[in-house]
């Protein structure tokens, strides 16, 4: 019991430390902020790209790239030219640490039950071995969700990312019905911390702030990609599960080790596959089979450890 408490205390401490460094680092950190939200005296509330709301001194601010809503919507729809983002998930390395889920929920301001990234416990047939499977949006090349959207609120960019415009979504939820991967979530009630984020300019590339009555889903952290950073989940993984990169370059980089390898080589040598490929959705997320696993399957063990 004692040990558990100290562990929790440690985690809390770690959280504070992280926030502390966040505020301390001003320059580059601030330029990554979405927008000045509210001016109170000489303190200004800012939303960081990792989803934290921080208050900083106005004097610390340097003018940075803060596009207006319409500008942001426009470039968000256009995407990053010449790219075709691709993700590879190595199932042999996943031990259900769920750092990806935590990072994702922090970044996209999601409630605990809303998952852009969901680590599932899979078992393909009665006698096959169970394994953990992180499941983001597949960013299909033949996306069933954008096919059915009546208002073009969800769409596929030329860089391969399937995005949602929460400023346009009418909340018909046809895309949830159409998605065979259950990748989409809906804001059934007021989103998490909606009061805190009130007035913050909407960022289509992160779906934040979340909007009530609209859809949200994994978007490969498109805002981070624009800044040249790996998606939140990829960076957060402690077990080098995720590889992410540009298929046009044929290179993927591991979020944990920073190692860069050839994408085609990686999926060729490890028998990479896509999820539910028989449905013809042509996912942009590839899986490496859970063979030669580094961590044994331990059910819900992450809760205790």
């Amino acid at each position: 019991m004692d040990k558990k408490n100290t562990r929790r205390a440690f985690l809390r401490l770690a959280g504070f430390t992280a926030a502390g460094t966040g505020i301390a680092a001003s320059g580059g950190f601030l330029s990554a902020c979405n927008r000045v939200e509210e001016v109170t005296g000489d303190k200004i509330k800012l939303l960081t790209s990792s989803g934290e709301l921080v208050e900083v001194d106005r004097a610390q601010l340097t003018p940075a790239d803060m596009p207006s809503l319409s500008e942001n919507q426009k470039r968000g729809r256009a995407g990053l030219p010449g790219r075709r983002w691709v993700m590879v998930i190595d199932l042999a390395r996943c031990r259900n640490a769920r750092k990806c889920m935590e990072a994702c929920q922090a970044h996209h301001q999601l409630k605990p039950e809303q998952h852009h990234m969901n680590v599932l416990q899979m078992k393909d047939a009665a006698h096959t071995a169970p394994y953990y499977m992180p499941k983001p949006c597949m960013h299909c090349d033949n996306p069933p969700c954008t096919k059915v959207c009546p208002v073009n609120a969800t769409f596929k960019r030329d860089d391969g990312i399937v995005l949602i415009d929460n400023e346009r979504c009418i909340g018909c939820r046809f895309c949830i019905a159409a998605c065979p991967y259950s990748a989409r979530v809906f804001n059934w009630t007021e989103p998490r911390d909606s009061e805190k984020y009130m007035g913050v300019t909407y960022n289509i590339e992160a779906n934040v702030p979340q909007k009530k009555g609209t859809i949200s889903k994994c978007l490969f952290s498109a805002d981070r990609l624009r800044d040249g950073k790996l998606p939140s989940c990829v960076s957060a993984c402690p077990n080098s599960v995720y590889w992410f990169g540009d298929q046009n370059e044929d290179a993927v980089t591991n979020g944990t080790t920073g190692e860069t390898v050839s994408f085609s080589g990686l999926i060729r040598d490890n028998a990479g596959y896509t999820l539910l490929e028989e449905l013809g959705t042509k996912p942009r997320v590839y899986y490496l089979p859970p063979k030669g696993r580094a961590f044994p399957y331990q059910g819900e063990v992450h809760r205790q450890v």
């Binding site: 889920m101 039950e113 809303q114 998952h115 969901n118 680590v119 599932l120 416990q121 899979m122 499941k135 069933p144 096919k147 059915v148 959207c149 009546p150 208002v151 073009n152 609120a153 346009r168 979504c169 009418i170 909340g171 018909c172 939820r173 046809f174 949830i176 019905a177 159409a178 065979p180 991967y181 259950s182 989409r184 979530v185 809906f186 804001n187 059934w188 009630t189 007021e190 009530k212 009555g213 609209t214 859809i215 999820l275 539910l276 449905l279 959705t281």
Partner: protein, 454 residues
């Protein structure tokens, strides 16, 4: 053909027919006031519940990320289904010159208008952001079945209204002629405006017949489209239970069952309430009973196809879905829809005794309720079984059960449709007077002769 009647006989007969068929306009007793009061109260409560839902978000319903379409969509499909009866009775049967169906056609149009209007309203109530409804027109994506659905529902509602209105014009003229001072001024004004100063001359009748024939032809593709497109909302997805090619005709066949049952019910209420025994006579009920049996047989055929083929193969996802339907959580509702909604009307409907007005009405009532559950069974179980496991979410995400506001809004939809039918019946005769009179051998010239003199 009916033998032409003499002028005197014609005039007397017309007076009698007119008197009977405008009784619905005149009945203003306690019961009808009470009925209207109930309807309006329910509608107000329903609108209030919707307001509450807009304020709180769709989270007040039982729907969650996995079962994200549920009772509202079931209602939508149900109302679209019921509305299709307008196509069958007032178009196809008219074009085939089926005489007995003539008095039913206006009832069918009433039901069609009420149902399709409510289908449109309920789908807006299902939206997460009804305030952005205009986006459908501003940013409409023509490849989306929802846009097709919006288009086709609007078109169908317009055609149904025209099909209701065109044969009504001569009736309006008759009412304008005969009801001066007998109805409130505003009501008379409506008749005056809508009758377009009808004179009853042959050219005008020719134009009415001409327009009606075009509309009856036009409503066939539009009517089939409305329900086929609605079925595509499901069939265009990759989910087990929806991912099938027969959904279009399957839905159309099911729609005729629901619509026929609804029309029988409304007919029976008119027959009793407005003392129209001679008009909605035993023969009409007998024939409608036979129609019900026929459409049920067609629907049964599609049901066998829908369940036997995947059940024979038992592919993984389909297998889970079918097991759940046949023996699982939804087994009770499923077997109710199958037995009460299909087998019962067929087995009883072939016996002449059960095609008498009251028994067939009771059968129709059960069939209609089963039809609603059928829509529920089509929508909900499939949503509960996605391809990938449902994990890391609270228990109430996994299985759906409707909440009170949701049920209130569903009840609203029903009562609002009753209200539309009631208002239409209170304002306009429930059977086309001139057409009926003509079938009784009354020449059209006697109908509008008084009018010419005025």
């Amino acid at each position: 053909m009916t033998i032409k009647k003499s002028p005197e006989e014609s005039r007397d007969r017309l007076d009698k027919i007119f008197h009977d068929l405008t009784r619905s306009l005149r009945v203003k007793d306690e019961l009808s006031r009470f009925w209207l009061f109930i309807l309006i109260m329910f509608c107000i409560v329903g609108v209030w519940a919707w307001g509450y839902q807009i304020q709180q978000g769709l989270g007040i319903t039982g729907m969650r990320d996995y079962v994200s379409w549920a009772m509202y969509i079931s209602n939508f499909v149900f109302f679209v289904a019921v509305s299709l009866i307008g196509l069958l009775i007032s178009s196809i049967m008219h074009l085939l010159k089926i005489r007995w169906a003539q008095p039913v056609s206006r009832v069918a149009e009433q039901v069609a208008i009420a149902a399709v209007a409510l289908a449109g309203i309920i789908i807006v109530m299902d939206m997460g952001r009804p305030d952005r409804f205009l986006n459908v027109f501003l940013h409409g994506r023509f490849a989306s079945p929802i846009i097709w659905d919006v288009t086709v529902i609007t078109t169908y509602l317009t055609i149904s209204a025209l099909l209701f209105y065109l044969p009504l014009i001569p009736d309006l003229a008759l009412m304008k002629n005969r009801l001066k001072g007998k109805v409130p001024g505003w009501q008379y004004k409506i008749y005056d405006i809508l009758s377009l100063g009808w004179k009853g001359n042959p050219q005008q009748f020719k134009l009415v017949y001409h327009s009606l024939r075009i509309l009856m032809l036009l409503i066939i593709p539009v009517g089939l489209a409305i329900h086929t497109v609605t079925s595509w909302l499901f069939a265009s997805t990759l989910r087990a239970g929806w991912d099938t090619t027969i959904f279009g005709p399957y839905f159309v066949a099911g729609a005729f069952v629901a619509g026929t049952a609804a029309v029988i019910l409304v007919m029976y209420v008119y027959r009793v309430r407005y003392r129209l025994k001679e008009y909605f006579n035993d023969e009409v009920f007998d024939r409608m009973g036979k129609t019900l049996v026929f459409v049920c047989l067609v629907y049964l055929y599609f049901n066998v196809n829908e369940f036997l083929v995947p059940g024979y193969k038992m592919k993984v996802a389909e297998g889970i879905h079918l097991t759940e339907l046949f023996f699982g959580r939804h087994a009770l509702a499923f077997w109710f829809t199958m037995i009460a909604g299909l087998i019962l009307p067929i087995v009883l409907g072939v016996i002449k005794y059960f095609r008498r007005p009251l028994p067939i009405t009771l059968i129709a009532l059960i069939t209609l309720i089963a039809s609603w559950f059928k829509r529920y069974i089509i929508v909900v179980p499939t949503m509960e079984h996605p391809h990938l496991p449902v994990q890391n979410v609270p228990e109430h995400f996994v299985h759906y059960s409707p909440t009170n506001p949701e049920i209130t809004i569903t009840l609203f939809a029903f009562f609002a449709s009753f209200l539309i039918v009631t208002v239409l019946a209170k304002l306009f005769p429930v059977i086309t007077i001139w057409e009926y009179a003509e079938h009784q051998g009354i020449d059209k010239k006697y109908m509008f002769e008084d009018y010419d003199q005025n």
